[in-house]
Amino acid sequence: MMNEEKNMDKIFRDKLEGFQMDPPPLLWDGIRETLLMQRRAKRVALYRWAAVAAMLAIAFFGGWYFNKTVEKDVPELAEQVIVYPERNNADENARVDIIEKSLTAKSETIDESDVSGNTTEKSAGLVESPRQKESLGGIPDPELQSPTDKYSVAPIKSQQAQSVLREEPVALKGKNKSEKSSFSDAEKRLIAENIRHKRDYSKNGSSWKMGMNVSPGYSSYSASHERDYANNMTYSATDGNSNVSAGISVQYKTKGRWSVESGVYYVQNGQKSESIPQLFAAYAADDEKTPPFTEGLYVNTDIDAEGNRMVMNSVAGIVEFESLPEGAEIEASLERAGSYSNALVTRGEFSQVFDFVEIPLFLRYLLVDSRVGLEVAGGINAGLVVGNNAYINNDYGLQNIGKTRDISAVNFSASIGMGVTYSLSKHISLAIEPRMNYYINSINRNPDVNFRPYRIGLYSGLYYEF
């Protein structure tokens, strides 16, 4: 038995080992064309990646540059401090000193309108800031191979139900090898080649999409603080900021409904605080009887003198004053709730603004694929802090008072959104997408502060697909 098998194997091997047969002449053309297409596809992919990288680099450095330029325009205020130690009210022994400071602008070339103008321009500047492919299996198995010719395997009960599932080439469908069609062999091969090429072309459905986005939105925060920090903290209001973000978006669309998006966005986050006329401000108001403290909104917060600087515990972290704002008073009191013995009182509003350059990595899924499309998006953003400013807006205008300490340079946020797209043409489309962006880490490294901004924006943009 074994020898019989070995002999049989040897006969097959000897007869077939050097067997040769000329393939159809058209086959080489198909190989050459496929190789050329592969080479072309590689080149195009390289160009596309280079274009995307260049746009991202331009957008990023552009945003960074302009942001830097704007920051330089913020005037620096220097102070000339005149201290009038004054014991005021004999009935209230707690109050020891009231220090009055008057401030003069160091740079006389910058007036108030310049200050507010600059800041307004900074917010408005957002609108104008830079935006935002196997099987060559090719011809599946035709039924030509159906064992109906003279060598059919009669004793074999082949359950070939599954082979019915196999796809047949359109031109040869239903034809049996023994049933000669009106096509010659050469014509059949030609038809088969055409079908193969058509499939190869139709497989190539991936594309790129680039667009510009503008997003008006509202940014606020969630925060928590350690107790000691919170005792000395400024009043925590829930006010957020209305602002506009803008950016450039780049999407790689797969052959299916998925796409991957990146880009560069310029975004502002922050918070506003103001105090109701509470205890100490009320004292200040009563004692001073000065018009600024008798009505309206107050910033009334504990401050500490640290080294040669004043610091204030704000919601987003410790603010280092670079200058004392005009129209503000520092009250020294022994009866503060926290450990800081001084308070800064001024009528107006305190705000912290953080400028981010965000680089998103989103996954998008097209729910409805038609002229009016619907898609969902979700992913993460790397947020690079490019601006960190604290302001007081009072009767003297919007004044930059300093920076928030311990802000991380790079932070991460999660985004989710659902958008509607409208195709204007084969290549151009409009999109509008409400999106929520929430920072998954506290942007402040201070362990006492957990400050996580979020932003809800309506992203609308124009896209070009290629």
Partner: protein, 186 residues
Amino acid sequence: MEEIKKIIKECISGNVRAQEKLYRMFAPKMFGVCLRYSRDRTEAEDNLQEGFIKVFTNIDSFRHEGSFEGWMRRIMVNVALSKYRKNNILYPVENIGDHDMPQFSDNIFEKFGAEELIELIRQLPERYRMVFNLYVMEGMNHQEISEMMNISVGTSKSNLSRARDILKRKVRDLYDEVKLNSNLPA
């Protein structure tokens, strides 16, 4: 040998003429390989095309350590195997025990030409065809076949045995038929 090296070098740099030259040199032999592993001629042509595209795409990875023809042949066999894995269609076949087979003189195979033998192989169920080709023509052992096809060694052995039995039965039927029709001397 040196000529092949030169052609390969030119193919690596993307020279279309060199690619065509290489194709003309090896295509008939590789088509013979593809025919053995395919159900029909069309599938063999597809495999040959896909195989040559892989050859030209990966030719820079050829280390000149073995024969270039052997390297190409492995690529053609791998194309056929990957298609088999992808389809992974199992043909349940009637159990044909060895004892069912009448005594058979293997000299009968000598009376058939290469094309007729290829035709017989092509009619085998896909998995049997693969195992028969890998064992008989590529000289692989059952362990290697089982790893390549993701089947057990026992299955490989059983498939080879059944492939042989089918071939014997077919040859006997065919031979009887031909003998009846043409009084071919045995």
